[in-house]
């Protein structure tokens, strides 16, 4: 039995269904679309590995210093805001993972003592602490090691555990993308819900097998059953469900962000209720705090804080001081969230503090992601063109001849510093508005007066102002290269 190369749609095209659009739709329905995208990104990842290990150890002159920290991060947040989770779609780490699955045919389930997102949250903290403490952005070699470790861990995890254990429980980048995709304008969703109710085979989750019982097409390995899937959380945009559905009833739909996903009590396939998932709540809290801490690590006042801490604690170990700043920032945001929950509880006079916290903490996701997006877009907008002279220099080094011209090092920014700052402030503002909209929706849902949700509005407003202040600060770059 051979499988069609492209999914055929059985229903009439719908305007907001990207899979029914000419060209784009054909590409999305093409069976090898993801693998092709992954191979392209894999080639870039190999370039980063090669240059990181063997190239000049000066970040601006090395692909491992430029592509991940300027382009990849900027394009990830840009894609999440204007398209969707396309970087999980094109994730190159999935290629060795797929190889591991073929080689080892794992049967073991993910350990019960490591449920949900807890490991991923810990890895997120570890990564961003290491990023600041060891200045990963300044070291092409360390960047290459991180990328190599990513490939190895993806291979090892999915060589041992069945399903998409790495994506669901381990990958810090994936969790970042999942939370960011709350704001994305697209979603993988069924076209005709009635058709799903009649379906008996449920290929979108089980996969499709041939007559001999061999798997011909995977279903969703993250356990998202299309019929009850809500929004983008945990969706890697792999489009396996689009390929698996025998009715061509799953598509990539345009949508209004923050419309269907804001109810924390709605049961979501593969996730359950967000209100009952402390790991997801912690993920959003940690990502929000890290968004501001990561930006804080690049501006002038961080030096004064570190200097003060160093004097106060008589500690000169930079990784330890960075750890203290991280722990302090997280604890501060955690305390403010707890305080907001307590005040809402007092003013609303209904359910407990924990009940409110596990529902309202998600409203921080938009403003938190707004800060991430602003930070990463700033670097992208002010440094995107540096890849041009870098490529010229790379070719010159490799061939000894300037086939692409002499490196034009004066090329750097897409926008002027002032214009880039305007854009990123607008992005944080949009994040704040998203948080505000989510909070008021929740307030209406639970019948709270404005006063009861005011603590959350004030917290989000404070984060927004903090973001604007951070973006207005002069940047200062530390570097272990100079140590």
């Amino acid at each position: 039995m051979t499988q069609a190369r492209t999914v055929r749609l059985t229903k009439r095209p719908v305007r907001h269904d990207l899979t029914s659009w000419p060209l784009v739709g054909r590409l999305l329905r093409w069976r090898h679309a993801r693998t092709t995208a992954q191979i392209v990104v894999l080639a870039l990842a190999l370039l980063i590995l090669y240059d990181g290990f063997f190239g000049p150890q000066l970040a601006p002159k090395n692909y491992a210093g430029v592509l991940p920290w300027v382009h990849w991060r900027g394009l990830v947040v840009l894609a999440l805001l204007v398209i969707g989770n396309v970087f999980c779609f094109a994730c190159p780490f999935m290629l060795p993972r797929r190889l591991a699955q073929r080689l080892f045919r794992p049967r073991r389930g993910w350990p019960r003592w490591l449920p949900g997102k807890w490991l991923a949250v810990a890895l997120l903290l570890l990564f961003f602490w290491a990023y600041e403490a060891f200045d990963l952005w300044a070291s092409p070699l360390l960047t290459a090691w991180v990328a190599a470790a990513y490939f190895l861990v993806a291979f090892a995890i999915d060589g041992v555990f069945r399903g998409a254990a790495f994506c669901k429980h381990v990958c810090p980048i994936g969790q970042f993308n999942f939370v960011g995709s709350l704001l994305s304008p697209t979603e993988v969703r069924v076209r005709e819900p009635d058709l799903c109710r009649q379906c008996r085979t449920k290929d979108c989750i089980r996969g499709r097998y041939d007559g001999a019982g061999r798997l011909r097409q995977r279903g969703c390995e993250l356990g998202l059953f299309q019929q009850s899937k809500v929004g983008n959380l945990d969706c890697t945009f792999c489009l396996d469900c689009v390929q698996a559905c025998p009715y061509g009833n799953v598509g990539v739909m345009l949508r209004r962000p923050l419309q269907d996903e804001t109810d924390p009590e709605r049961t979501r396939s593969g996730i359950g209720q967000l209100a009952g998932r402390p790991d997801w709540a912690m993920l959003v809290l940690v990502l929000t705090a890290l968004g501001f801490l990561n930006a804080f690590g690049m501006v002038s006042p961080v030096y004064r804080l570190l200097e003060w801490l160093s004097r106060a604690l008589s500690v000169t170990n930079e990784p330890l001081l960075v750890g203290i700043v991280f722990a302090g920032g997280l604890a501060l945001l955690g305390a403010l969230v707890g305080l907001a929950s307590a005040v809402t509880h007092l003013l609303a006079g209904r359910p407990g503090v924990r009940w409110i916290l596990t529902r309202f903490v998600y409203t921080l996701a938009p403003v938190g992601f707004g800060m991430w997006a602003a930070h990463y877009l700033f670097h992208f907008l002010t440094g995107a063109l540096t890849v041009v002279p870098l490529t010229q220099s790379f070719v010159l080094d490799l061939t000894g001849r300037p086939w692409l011209g002499q490196p034009a090092w004066q090329l750097a920014s897409l926008l002027s510093l002032d214009r880039a700052t305007d854009v990123v402030v607008l992005v944080v503002a949009l994040g704040f508005l998203g948080s505000l909209a989510w909070t008021t929706q929740l307030g209406r849902r639970y019948g709270y007066r404005f006063g009861a949700i005011l603590p959350w509005v004030l917290l989000q407003g404070a984060l927004f102002l903090l973001g604007v202040w951070l973006l207005g600060q002069p940047m200062e770059m530390r570097g272990t290269l100079l140590g």
Partner: protein, 151 residues
């Protein structure tokens, strides 16, 4: 199946060979040349350095530590440890034997700066590197390392 595997193997071998060959060239570029010529900072004006126009006095030395004289100009590039910033590229003229002074250099951002000096000496291109840590921003931060060093 065999044919497909052979093609994949051939492609892999070719790619690996290219990478190994390329790595030799990329890795032995400017850094190896930099060992023949070194550069040290003689003075920076203003001192300590802050964001804004600055003058760097740089001494070029050969592998025996002797000043390199007679180069009418060298190219000086100021860049940072973070990618994505526009480097500052100016020329420097010989001011006294072996000492070259920049013209029109500007620290555009606070933090750690990396100074690359390029030129031609004895008919060979060279590139030498030195660092200027903790250029202060307008807010007056002295930078973490200087702060710690002062403890």
């Amino acid at each position: 199946m065999v044919r497909r595997s052979s093609v994949a193997l051939t492609v892999a071998i070719v790619l690996c060979s290219l990478l190994v060959t390329a790595s030799c060239q990329r890795g032995s570029g400017t850094e190896a040349q930099g060992t023949a010529v070194s550069v040290e900072i003689v003075a920076i004006e203003p001192d300590p350095p802050v964001i804004g126009p600055a003058t760097l006095q740089l001494r070029l030395l050969d592998s025996r530590g002797m000043p390199i004289t007679g180069l009418s100009t060298v190219e000086v590039e100021g860049t940072m440890s973070h990618a994505g910033m526009r480097p500052v590229i100016v020329t420097a003229r010989e001011w006294s034997p072996g000492v070259y002074v920049t013209e029109g250099f500007t620290f555009t951002m606070g933090g750690d700066w990396i100074i690359l000096v390029r030129g031609t000496w004895n008919g060979r291109r060279f590139e030498a590197r030195t660092d200027i840590p903790a250029v202060r921003s307008a807010t007056g931060s002295t930078g973490f390392r200087i702060g710690v060093a002062a403890l």
